[in-house]
């Protein structure tokens, strides 16, 4: 429920935590400013950039985003708590998002879900011990013609059968879209962050 904090553990607030946003990330956030009348409007793009770069948006990161956008940190927290896409605690390097809406359910999403949980040995909203995968379900992904379908990070997997799951999850490139891409929302080049999964 959008108004209920489902997947959010209380962020650990450390008053003296070191800064987490590199200058490259800050510059990337600022590059969105000319698009909008207010700086606050750059908040969703900023959260995307930070989550892509750091894996999740910690309380410290929220405070620094607030600084860049010149708004109170409470407004960042308020907004972030509304959207299911953002993680305020660590998540796996890859996130499996399984569709649970009607078309997918009618075509066997429940069995796919069980196969994923069996393979990863985790339930919904959990992360594997090695930090490779997190698993969530979401409402319709607008790909019902390919039901049952799931996303692994950026990549959509279509008409998934329970038997396909082990192979699918073992594939190191299962989270990439192989196509000309725009780097607009991507992690800024040169930012010192861990490499993001895959080969």
């Amino acid at each position: 429920m959008a108004w209920e904090s489902l997947d959010r553990r209380t962020p650990v607030i450390e008053p003296n935590a070191p800064p987490v946003l590199s200058e490259a990330i800050r510059a990337k956030i600022r590059s969105f400013f000319p698009r909008y009348e207010t700086k606050r409007a750059a908040l969703l793009p900023a959260l995307h950039v930070v989550q892509d770069a750091l894996g999740h948006v910690s309380w410290q990161a929220m405070k620094e985003i607030a600084e860049v956008l010149e708004i109170p940190p409470a407004q960042v927290l308020d907004t972030i708590s509304f959207y299911t896409h953002f993680w305020t605690h660590e998540k796996g390097r890859k996130v499996v998002v399984l569709c649970r809406s009607l078309s997918c359910q009618l075509l066997g999403a429940d069995a796919v879900r069980q196969a994923i949980e069996r393979q990863l040995k985790i339930g919904e909203h959990e992360t594997t011990e090695d930090g490779a995968y997190s698993f969530v379900t979401e409402e319709c992904l607008a790909a019902c013609d390919h039901a049952p379908c799931l996303l692994i990070n950026e990549r959509l997997h279509k008409c998934v059968k329970p038997g396909d799951v082990p192979k699918l999850l073992a594939d190191p490139n299962n989270d990439r879209v192989a196509m000309p891409r725009s780097e607009l929302f991507d992690r800024p080049a040169g930012s010192a962050v861990e490499s993001k999964g895959g080969a």
Partner: protein
């Protein structure tokens, strides 16, 4: 029927159509040149109004009329392109953006010109990763070709266009929820009036339109209002992208004149070609989840803006059909539907927040074999006590919740009752007592009996 020529999908499958040169070679951006070079913005609005282009995003409001509500003396205007597409069963916008991205951009350009837009924002749901890259690449190419930015096509019209990515919330598809979300806030719909045309994004005049609505504009300019009106039915003009999913032979996107029957969409040779694995049809949710359900006997319903109402549906919706096979358990269907709205209600309005999650709890109990006959009345009662149409809530989400839930319960009541009668005796009371005895000892309005735990 045979004479119908698809236009929205005409370039689908053309090799390299995502490249601007190929799109231009197919006649692309000609309509934009016509509009910008030889028509005034007011003339474009007139043609679109005359064509009776009704919004394809769900509400069916005429686009030209909406544009004419913009105040005359404005200096800044925003166009928000609604690409949030989260209505279960719907994927026509996705198909348009990946199948022919420049057609979408051309529609934005012409509509932006008509509304004298200064900046257009394409609000795209974040799950559209591939589509984001496709459209952003196309947008970059269009900018390089002078189709966006300053002095477009050498005229003195200037407009910027950006893609703004959402973050996973159905309610951000509601036009004012979208605006709030664009401003960097939680996607809480606003009370209307003021309508966005008067006070929208950053409190400026704003137009919100669906991707498909804007794509239609290209063809209206190219072929004229009379051509557009000659397609479809009297009140529902033009071509429409129907989508169909569920256990059918050929799920997908099909372009047809408005007024296609649901039966034709499921069984027609040009469409889904019937059920897979020889299954029968139990029912069909023909317009995205929120419109309600048709039974097998009602499949002759025409999917346009009027006929659907004769069958107790909310409206045409998005024309995204979900086919329910005869072997599906209706209790599971109901649980899935109620869960969606309980999860997606933004929580501002009491009736919607509490009503949607209450209905989900009831449906979940029925699904685990702990339902009561009274629960069916209770579901209908709750569904009647929420919604914008009754003045009880800020946006249309709870209306969209009430229709499918009410029609499923009413039209399949026998089946629910059969399941409930076959339950283990005493199970319902036992589960209820365990969950929350107090919460369910409530009277049903209009009935003089109490429905306590028995």
């Amino acid at each position: 029927m045979a004479s119908f020529e698809p236009v929205l999908t005409r370039n689908f499958g053309v090799e390299n159509i995502r490249s601007i040169d190929v799109y231009r070679a197919k006649g692309g951006y000609k309509a934009a040149e016509t509009a910008l070079r030889s028509m005034s913005p007011e003339q474009v609005v007139e043609v679109v109004t005359a064509a009776n282009l009704r919004g394809r995003g769900g509400a069916g409001f005429p686009a030209g009329v909406k544009w004419s509500f913009l105040p005359k003396d404005r200096r800044i205007t925003y166009l928000c392109v609604n690409a949030d597409e989260s209505e279960p069963g719907t994927f026509n916008n996705r198909a348009l953006m990946e199948g022919d991205p420049h057609q979408v951009l051309e529609g934005i350009l012409i509509s932006g010109y008509a509304t004298r837009t200064t900046t257009a924002y394409i609000y795209m749901r974040v799950e559209f990763h591939e589509q984001f890259h496709v459209l952003q690449k196309a947008l970059d190419a269009a900018y390089a070709a002078g189709l966006f930015g300053r002095n477009i096509l050498g005229t003195n019209f200037s407009m910027d266009c950006y893609i703004h990515r959402g973050a996973g919330a159905y309610v951000c598809g509601e036009e004012t929820g979208l605006i709030e979300s664009l401003e960097g806030k939680r996607g809480w719909p606003r009370i209307k009036p003021p309508f966005p045309a008067v006070e929208g994004l950053f409190r400026r005049p704003t137009v919100v339109n669906n991707v498909e609505t804007l794509a239609c504009v290209v063809h209206i300019i190219e072929r004229g209002a009379e051509w557009f009106k000659s397609i479809g039915t009297a009140n529902s003009a033009g071509p429409k992208l129907y989508t169909i999913s569920g256990p059918v032979k050929r799920p997908g996107v099909y372009e047809a004149p408005l007024g296609l029957s649901c039966r034709e969409l499921i069984f027609g040779d040009a469409y889904a070609q019937g059920m897979s694995d020889g299954k029968g049809v139990k029912g069909c949710i023909p317009g995205g989840l929120s419109v309600g359900v048709l039974t097998e006997q009602e499949l002759d319903c025409k999917l346009d803006f009027d006929d659907v109402r004769k069958y107790g549906l909310l409206g045409l919706g998005t024309a995204g059909a979900i086919v329910i096979p005869s072997d599906a358990d209706i209790r599971q269907v109901l649980m899935n539907v109620t869960r969606f709205y309980a999860h997606e209600s933004c929580g501002q309005c009491t009736q919607c927040r509490e009503g949607t999650s209450w209905m989900y709890k009831i449906a979940a109990r029925i699904a685990i074999g702990a339902g009561r006959i009274e629960d069916l009345d209770l579901l209908i009662e709750v569904s009647q006590n929420m919604g914008m149409m009754g003045g009880l809530s800020i946006c249309g989400l709870p209306d969209g919740a009430a229709y499918p839930i009410r029609t499923i319960v009413e039209k399949f009541r026998d089946e629910f009752e059969r399941h409930i009668r076959a339950q283990e005796p005493g199970r319902a009371a036992e589960v209820l007592r365990r969950l929350n005895p107090a919460a369910y000892s409530l009277p049903i309005l209009g009935q003089s009996r109490w429905v306590g735990v028995r």
